[in-house]
Amino acid sequence: MKVIYIEKAQWASGLEKAGDSFRLWGPVRRGQFYAFEELAGGQVPALDFRNTRLSAKGLVYPQSEKMFEYTLDPGQPDHDLLKEAQKDYSPRAVLGIRPCDADAFELVARNFDTPEYQDPYWLRAREAVTLVGLACAAPCSTCFCTSAGSGPFSTKGLDILLVDSGGNFLAQVATPKGEAFAQAAGWRQPADDAAAAEIDRQRQVAEARIDSHVATERLRQQDTLTLHAAPFWDDVAFACINCGTCTYLCPTCWCFDIQDETHGRQGVRLRNWDSCMFPLFTLHGSGHNPRGQKVQRVRQRFMHKLKYYVDKYENGIQCVGCGRCVRHCPVNIDIRKVCELMNSYTLAGDSCAVVS
């Protein structure tokens, strides 16, 4: 993979230059945490963060977005017809996204880009964005990306991966989109052979610092109904308050709701993030609710991520190990522990089934 040098002295000026052809987003400190915000001209992203509170999911898949516009005014020729909302899909770049969050876009694409249907909003936004990642030299205690298919230096989903090496960034240019961004920023100094070795050295150090892991190797072979009926769900779910924190902070949760909002005679059809934690998510018009109880909803979240997804795509778990849900769950429900329960679960008595 091509590696270029970006002297830190050229970082800000490069971004300014890239700003001519890209809208730029990056982490900005807000109070006690960091959030992705659009950068004003000349503003540089704050790269001293461990990770942003919210993932970069919303930059491609906004929490609320317009799908269609309409008028209900019978005097208008196109009344009651939905028209595609005009949206800005001009080129943009996200600076400083963590590799785990970038990998999440690859994962979520499996939901939004299918052989039968393509979600035009997600795909256009994804196409418009260039991801300039920042390698994770100091992973958090709750990070388990290496056992969730990603890693602190993973380039999956990224167009450029920046590795901090003191006075400059070593930038791995992973895609043509990344190449175009580097061009726009005027960063073109090729790195020498030592750069790749330096990146590899740093990667090994960072990976070794991750001491949190999940075992997932048995999830596939577990029987769905057996896991579904496992007795541990009551205990896992007891403390859950059914808020949407885990799902909204998660870079790989993709569920949404569609709503019409009319003001006067004009209106919009919107889509909003939704959460399997909310009872309303599955409530039938008749009042029947197939997941009306908390334990059913908590089970759904974990079964989806760690069993249904695993079976459906045969491509790992629906989790990149960013650890946000672990850090921010108000009642400390820890996906790592649940994964362990699910992965290691055996029906009582199974161990006795030894062939004599």
Partner: protein, 315 residues
Amino acid sequence: MRAYTEKIREIARRLLEACTVERVLGFRRGSVPMMNAPCFVKTPAEAANLVWDSNCGINLANYLTSRSEKIGIFAKGCDSRNIVTHIIENKIRREQLVIIGVPCHGMIDRHRIAAMADGEIREVVEDENNIIVQGDGFKKVHNRHDVLQANCAVCTHRNPVIYDELVADLVEEPGDVDRYRDVREIEALSAEGKWDFFDDLLHDCIRCYACRNACPLCYCPTCFVDESRPQWVGKSQDPVDVRTFHFLRAYHCAGRCTDCGACERACPVGINMRVFTKKLEKDCLEKFGWEAGLSLEARPPLDAYRPDDPDDFIR
């Protein structure tokens, strides 16, 4: 507070062994620093999982709503006041509960401590007065009072107001606490200033409803934000809808809120939504002489009419 843990385990074991209660509601050690998880202990052996320290901030009254078993519950001052509110509002019966009072020294603010750390926190331990934070290549000692959760720092009801037995001797209630400085500052703003203040306050809200769901007062079967006929509030991130949610939720807590801080503690994006409920709390105190959850007998101010109720806002 270390001694609390031993005592708590002993009490839980005793209650379960004697079948005085079917379950005991307490905390177990969490999987990350400064995080304990509410748990339901069902057998005497499981009582050994219970812990108590400065990370037991979740309001356990939240887990009592409409339960039918006989339950032992460990209650700090604020928990006990919400238990009272639950009993008054018929969400649980007093006879179902064995309340074990836990005189409280205040819970710590994990978000603030994390923001003050010089790196990733690996372990947090505490002694009588200090919180000792250790992480990758650093160690920091905080005075407990400096890192208390915001509501705990101004708490005037640390002792449980209702209990069947106590874990330890009652603690001294802080005397000269200015509970409403922040509210007065907002009250002093112009209308426009207030509007901007709340705009900024709610800027990061993601409507995950953690504040609502962590709140023991928010037990409506269908919250007003979830109603579809009529739909009172839009469901998007539109700032007017976000504000409507927070502001109406706060009003639903008027005269009921004990300032337990559950909402703020649960918020994943650090919104100080207590300024809403505290204003109402302050009004209840100043206009009706009312503090929620102190008595099983007195009726809440919004629940009873008195001829001397303040009415100078009515023309």
